[in-house]
Amino acid sequence: MTKQIVTMTVNGEKKEVLAEPRELLIYVLREKMGMTGPHVGCETSHCGACTVEIDGKSVKSCTMFAAQAQGAEIKTIEGLGSPENLHVLQESFKEHHGLQCGYCTPGMITRAHRLLIENPNPTEEDVRFGIAGNICRCTGYQNIVKSILSAAAELNAAKEAAQ
């Protein structure tokens, strides 16, 4: 099948790739743009390791063709913070031992990022429900939930201080 040029903005940078229509977004991100943060875990949209943010939505990029993302604004874990300036969530996951093998972590943090934008004051139940599309095999979630709640508190404190 003929390849087409697909254009999208990834982490603020305009990207153009040549892709067959059937190429899945996760592989295009990982293999054609070098964004190996999002991972492939289940391929049937159950595990959430491939989660990225597309136009303000948390999306499992294993269940989306790159062609569908034509024109889209995409954020991956690589766009969340920088080594000099980690995102509060990244810091919080480190602080509260919210990760072990690290394989689910990029998807988990990317999802948590969106969750906190939509619900800046989540309860523990909100967090558990909000990350239920992301499977972690290592942590039992307890410290992930703790990390997200702590990041929320910190973000709110920063917001208050700024006002």
Binding site: Y27, H39, H97, C101, G102, P106, C138, T139, G140, Y141
Partner: protein, 804 residues
């Protein structure tokens, strides 16, 4: 030099043993900069993909690869015929059996590897897989090990039915081995004469470790230099190098095996899979790198399963409840090939730890391994070799005995625990338990949860249920486990002849930082953080200044890898020992620099001080600099050491768990209201990491106990090939856990540590299961099999007439 900081500050700065040091791994993982196998992208790299059998048992009449080969972008399609001249169409398993790499005349399980397509990208490879035409002639399928032992159908036609197997004589053409431990006649005599005997049969269902990252490898044969590099999801990279060398004939120095970051292992990544072999062969054939990464369905259907043990037990006791004997027989379903990952002398792993935490004077264990048309494996999923099965068995037998005696199960445990003063304790089935204080742990746990209060509440609930006021019943799950981890010693434990020691090598740099390498490999356990803590306390250099490396066989010392909670007990011990070697040399250097006798200096946190004159000292930084830059009479320059540690014994972590659960008898839905876990893993290296391991292990236990299963239909079709049906709980299904601890150091481990990664799984499964079963005990339940998914819980209620 004036010392400005206090001793306490120096200790804090060290970040050594016992502190909750934040993980050094996390910087890269939180930024998406981990480096997993599938992240490896080499120039010109090809992709491999398997044609797999849709049939569970069939003769392969023909394989036609023409159409696939004709597809543009397909470079090769390998079948057994292509591998045969290289002697690679079969490979040895870790259990002394052999396994087809690609179908050689027949297939023995659904999902078995039939042909390996190599193409320029994953899309073409996937299309080519569809184009390979395979003609199958279906054969009768056997998925039941008991039927298999009665069947005329020969599953393994490659084996001489009369010849002994790797573990002695075989009783039947579908039989693999019989393994017996203990005194059967004596045990039977005790049981026959006993006051009380409880018998039960239980099935520990087949499940799968299912790490989030599936298995994969990248092989790169550099024909110019004759060097093969193999990256892969290997929990034991050094073993893979040796096996790869033996199989391929490439000398071991020309093979470099690298385990990069591993996205969880849990036992799934111990074995050698056909995909690894095929990627190597394909790279040798094509001369370019070849990547193979399985998908989730392939992972669940073809890589190593866990459990699948049919266990039959008899336990006897006096009228007072003192256990007098234990008899256990297991029919072990190993699937199509015996690919268990157990030490050679232990074909059923350490199943003979099945006397548990109890002082049982006589016991017998017999295990029969059987072939069926199911995927091969039998790995230890988040446990030491078959210990989950053993602990589940004894913790159910205790409950059944308590029912038989109409006794409280907590009390029954208490009166049978091995006493503190009995350690080192020699069990009836041959183990020497190193240390333990079970009564203290048990009392602490029962007090923490207000056990008597819970029982009162449960009794009230039973009454309310009987009055028709509620349809919810309450279960109190108890478990007390003893793990056996840290294999070696070498004299008892080897895999494929390779002794199970482990290793650590360290180089202290002139400016006082260090790099240490070990024979293990982290899959999330945080080795880079915790091994540095062990070393920091031993050598007085801050953990922050010690880089830990593992997983590259070109640089790391030989070791047997990470599984069976062996990293801390074995490699951790090697780290402590290597630290002591460094310290011994450092002491001599310090003494020279301070112009005193070697014996006149002593180690203090991060320095050597002159005894009685602590203001006279040399820091480890100063000592390291001198080691390289000052000619010291009688000493070689440099400061480095290596230690290969062969443990004198295994370690025996233990713990006490309590789960409080509500069950909706009408829908079979359980709700976990409380889970308390007390773990004793000896000396605690990093409490934060320990807690994380416990949360994770308990969650995997919850999964296994409450629904996670690899199930087959009668035709051998795997019914649980995706994460829709294979139960991995989400944050929504998982409770918060309360953790607690006691500390009973191992007397033989250099720092007294025992290992913890697998304890919560080992102890958690029976605890969750016992909670379900305990809820039904007042209504007449004796035993129901896991997994306790909604319908099986509902069935338990239904069988007890609770829906009438």
């Amino acid at each position: 030099m004036k010392d400005e900081v206090t001793r306490e500050e120096r200790v804090t700065k060290l970040k050594g043993l016992g502190c909750s040091r934040k993980r050094v791994e996390d910087a890269r993982f939180t930024q998406g900069k981990g480096n997993y196998v599938d992240d490896i992208n080499l120039p010109g790299m090809l992709t491999g993909d398997f044609v797999r059998s849709p049939c569970a048992h069939a003769r392969v009449k023909s394989i036609n690869t023409d159409a696939a080969m004709a597809l543009e972008g397909v470079v090769a399609v390998l079948t057994a015929k292509d591998l045969e001249p290289l002697g690679l169409h079969w490979m040895p398993t870790l259990a002394g059996d052999k396994q087809m790499v690609l179908a050689d005349g027949k297939v023995l399980f659904q999902g078995q590897e039939v042909a390996f397509v190599v193409a320029t990208d994953r899309y073409i490879a996937s299309d080519a897989v569809e184009l390979v035409e395979v003609e199958y002639e279906e054969l009768p399928v056997i998925v039941d090990p008991f039927k298999s032992m009665q069947s005329d159908v020969v599953l393994r036609e490659d084996l001489d039915p009369k010849a002994p197997g790797a573990h002695g004589p075989r009783k039947h053409h579908n039989h693999i081995f019989t393994w017996e431990v203990g005194d059967e006649a004596g045990t039977n005599a005790v049981i026959d004469d006993a006051d009380i005997v409880a018998e039960e049969s239980m099935y520990y269902h087949r499940t799968h470790p299912c790490p989030l990252e599936p298995c994969g490898s990248v092989a790169s044969m550099d024909k110019v230099n004759g060097k093969l590099t193999l990256w892969g999801t290997f929990q034991a990279p050094h073993v893979v190098r040796t096996v790869a060398s033996l199989l391929s004939g490439i000398e071991e120095h020309n093979i470099r095996v690298v385990s990069p970051d591993i996205g969880g292992g849990f036992g799934n990544k111990v074995g050698v899979y056909p995909g690894y072999v095929c990627s190597i062969v394909a790279s040798i054939v094509t001369g370019v790198p070849v990547k193979w990464v399985e998908d989730r369905m392939e992972n669940l259907m073809s890589t190593a399963f866990a459990r699948d043990y049919w266990m039959k037990g008899k336990i006897s006791a006096t009228k007072e409840g003192k256990i007098t004997g234990l008899h256990c027989h297991v029919t072990a379903d190993h699937g199509a090939f015996d690919a268990c990952a157990d030490p050679t002398k232990f074909p059923a792993g350490f199943m003979n730890i099945c006397t548990g935490s109890y002082d049982i004077p006589i016991a017998y264990l017999g295990v029969d391994g059987v072939y069926t048309n199911k995927a091969p494996g039998g790995v230890s999923y988040r446990c030491s070799f078959r210990v989950t099965e053993a602990v589940y068995f004894i913790e159910r037998m205790i409950e059944v005995l308590a029912i038989e005696m109409n006794m409280d199960a907590a009390e029954l445990r208490r009166i049978n625990f091995i006493k503190k003063e009995q350690f080192p304790y020699h069990s009836a089935l041959g183990w020497e338990y190193d240390s333990g204080d079970y009564h203290t742990a048990w009392d602490k746990a029962l007090k923490a949860v207000d056990y008597d209060g819970l029982r009162k509440k449960q009794a009230e609930r039973v009454e309310a249920f009987k009055r028709g006021e509620t349809r919810s019943i309450m279960g109190i799950g108890l478990s007390f486990f003893t793990e056996i981890v840290g294999a070696g010693p070498v004299k008892n434990c080897d895999i494929l002849g390779m002794g199970m020691f482990d290793s650590c090598e360290i180089r202290i740099h002139p400016t006082g930082s260090a790099v240490a390498r070990l024979g293990t490999i982290s899959q999330g356990q945080g080795h880079a953080t915790t091994f540095a803590q062990i070393l920091a306390s031993e050598i007085g250099i801050s953990a922050d200044s010690i880089t830990i490396e593992e997983g590259d066989t070109d640089t790391a010392p030989y070791g047997l890898g990470t599984y069976g909670s062996r990293s801390t007990p074995v490699a951790g011990a090697a780290a402590a020992m290597v630290g002591r070697k460094i310290r011994a040399k450092a002491q001599m250097i310090a003494a020279y620099l301070l112009e005193v006798h070697d014996d006149d200096v002593e180690f203090d946190v991060d320095r050597f001080v002159v005894k009685g004159a602590p203001e006279r000292f040399k820091t480890m930084g100063e000592i390291a600099y001198a080691a390289y830059n000052q000619a010291i009479p009688g000493l070689e320059p440099g400061l480095e050491a290596v230690s290969y540690y062969d443990p004198p014994n295994m370690t025996y972590p233990f713990g006490a768990y309590v789960c409080v659960m509500d069950i909706d008898v009408d829908t079979g839905v359980p709700t976990i209201n409380r889970f308390y876990a007390l773990d004793d893993c000896g000396t605690r290296i990093n409490p934060m990491v320990i807690e994380g391991q416990i949360h994770g292990g308990l969650t995997e236990a919850l999964a296994v106990a409450l629904g996670q299963e690899i199930a087959y239909d009668d035709m051998g079709n795997c019914k649980t090939g995706t994460l829709m049906d294979f139960f991995l709980p989400t944050a929504w299904e998982v409770p918060n856990y309360e953790t607690d601890f006691t500390v009973t150091p191992s007397p033989h481990h250099p720092i007294g540590a025992k290992g913890v990664g697998e304890s919560p799984h080992v102890g958690g499964v029976p605890c969750f299961s016992n909670a379900v079963q305990d809820a039904f005990r007042p209504f007449g339940n004796r035993h129901t099999n896991m997994p306790h998914d909604h319908w099986r819980i509902w069935k338990a209620a239904n069988d007890l007439g609770m829906h009438d």
